[in-house]
């Protein structure tokens, strides 16, 4: 295998791997798990030619640990998994957030809980992506809805992780991950890539967790003369552990504000269908593909429907969703779980617009009829 060019018929997982490589990823550590293993396979084949390293760690806990280590040593790094592996990764995900380590974790969601249905899709890790790791923390999670987006959103994930010094999650699903579609692969040299800020001060003045004006500390790497002290204990700007009153509040506040003060750089949504609608669908990932089809089907029944598609799940697009709620008669949240994103939609529902759930929990791409039933319910 070598990098394909131009228009390709490609599986979502492959597109994700190429997105990572084109974004500059040069380290992959992972543990195979259906339906994500193809991502590992592409990396195993391709990374050495780019001077990169592929390693299969003994478990997912070791995998996310290794990508954090490699990133602190200066390499863009990532891993891919599914539900059971994502659960194992939670503790170290918190380490990555706390130590502000750029890296990407791809979760190709499948039916859970536990072993569930390994080869069948779900979108039931949404809340876990937000709160799976213990403690107060922000997170960024993106939701690709096509093979082309598996490529572009992976690149975006790397860019966001470098810009904000935070692990970024790709919330994919089995449908998008293992479906083949045509995609256009651009010349990698044409891509706009973001690199972590380097220190501008001399080594003796460097404090690894001293933030800039945008609350993100410039990042040195292990091996630099600027000494890095990365700790999972509460720490101050020196990186060393610090138990003094006020340090914890200061650190947690900065970590949160670092993301939430800059959501305009992070949040991406798509508006599909007519501007004015009786019913607005809110959806993401594979479910949103069915929603686009349903917009046309609803029109045939005389119901005016549009779609607000979330490309960013976390931070939740409060403003965009609140606005959509305010402009429509009713909302149907279509997702492949028992109702996770819908809780967030309700949270920002200042206009008390009726909100319905179209829940796809049959271990398959959500059928249009499930969404249509909710739409008919909404206009009753």
């Amino acid at each position: 295998m070598s990098r394909p060019e131009g228009v390709q018929l490609m599986e979502g997982n492959h597109a994700c791997a190429w997105g990572a490589i084109d974004a500059g990823a040069r380290f992959y550590a992972g543990y195979p798990i259906t339906p994500s293993s193809e991502i590992a396979e592409v990396c195993a084949h391709e990374l050495p030619a780019y001077g990169g390293t592929y390693i299969q760690m003994e478990d997912e806990i070791g995998s996310i640990a290794a990508i954090i280590g490699a990133s602190l040593s200066g390499r863009k790094s990532f891993t891919a998994t599914s539900g059971p592996g994502f659960s194992l990764m939670q503790e170290n995900l918190g380490v990555g957030i706390y130590q502000e380590v750029p890296c990407v974790i791809v979760n190709i969601q499948r039916v859970g809980p536990a072993t569930g249905l390994a080869t069948q899709p779900a979108q039931a890790d949404v809340m876990q992506a937000r709160w799976g790791t213990h403690g107060d923390h922000p997170i960024i999670a993106l939701s690709p809805a096509s093979v082309q987006e598996m490529y572009y959103l992976t690149i975006r994930a790397f860019n966001l992780s470098e810009r904000f010094r935070i692990p970024v999650i790709i919330l994919g699903d089995q449908v998008i991950g293992q479906t083949y579609e045509n995609i256009i692969l651009p010349d990698p040299a044409s891509l706009d890539l973001v690199e972590r800020k380097k220190p501008l001060v001399p080594p003796e003045d460097f404090l690894p967790y001293q933030p800039d004006e945008n609350l993100v500390p410039p990042m040195a790497a292990y091996g630099d003369k600027h000494i890095v002290h990365a700790s999972s204990t509460c720490h101050c700007e020196t990186g060393y552990s610090n138990f003094k009153y006020g340090t914890n509040r200061q650190l947690l506040t900065r970590l949160k504000d670092k993301i939430y003060n800059y959501t305009d750089e992070i949040i991406e949504v798509e508006h599909f269908g007519p501007d004015d609608a009786e019913v607005t669908l809110i959806s993401y990932g594979a479910s949103s593909r069915v929603c686009k089809y349903v917009v046309g089907e609803a029109e045939k029944e005389g119901i005016r429907v549009n779609l607000l598609r979330l490309l960013t799940i976390w931070p939740f697009p409060d403003q965009e969703v609140r606005e959509a709620l305010g402009k429509t008669g009713a909302v149907v949240v279509a997702e492949m779980n028992q109702g996770q994103l819908i809780g967030e939609v309700n949270r920002v529902n200042a206009s008390n617009t009726p909100v319905h759930l179209a829940s796809g929990i049959d271990g398959e791409l959500i059928r249009p009829e499930i969404i249509m039933t909710s739409i008919r319910e909404a206009v009753k």
Binding site: F27, A29, G62, V95
Partner: protein, 279 residues
Amino acid sequence: MAVKLSYREYFKEDALPLMWCSGCGNGILLRAITDSLADLQIPPHQVVVSTGIGCWGKADDYMKTHAFHGSHGRALAFGTGIKLGNPDLHVIALMGDGDALAIGGNHFIHSARRNIDITAVVSNNFNYGMTGGQYSPTTPLSSKTTTSPIGVAEPAFDVCGLSEQCGANYVARTTAYHVTQMKRMITAAIQKKGFSVVEVLNTCPTHFGRRNIAGDPVSVMQYLKDITVNKSRYEKMDEEEKAKYLVTGELVNKDRPDFLSVYRELNPAASETGRGESK
């Protein structure tokens, strides 16, 4: 003319006094490690200590080299990424007996098997000290601890035997008493390419010591001398006699190719040094 490095280049003197109990040997290990680095004249910015959780895991507070302090049991996993991210680094994993052999056991055996070029210094004080003295996988059978008030029902791991069986290139055992031997072993372990394990039997006067030996540090240090015997004497003992001791000395010293050497041989394009430049 370059100034000769001393342990002070690596050790954070302004962080003194150490947080550990009176008679805890962790400070002795720190001195041996920083002296070794100075002897080897390795620039501090080429060293990363990767520590776990527990008393020995807090050693990073006292280091001026690069440092990583992560989650419990994962010092070797994070360390693997640190090393592969920049193979020019000297990565030294500092783990207690629980961090390395209980929760970290899986990473320990795989690090040895794949022979990743990391130096592991395991401080074995026979219990979980930081959390109040519970038993660990290295607590001797029948010992009294806070979670084995009438005696531990499990035998202890042979840390060095395990390391050897899993394929580590360098395996050595010493005690906090044997400081000269300790420094020699740590120096050899740092220089060795591949996975190196130095197990240092250590004192915990506050918990394991107080409950099983005596409460004063000297008695606990004396215990370490009493339960160990050097390799040359040990080899002459019969099985019955051997069972009473832990053998100290350099137990394994070989040169099986480390993980990255094998990986590069199979993948010639993979980066030689540095951080992997893009095509």
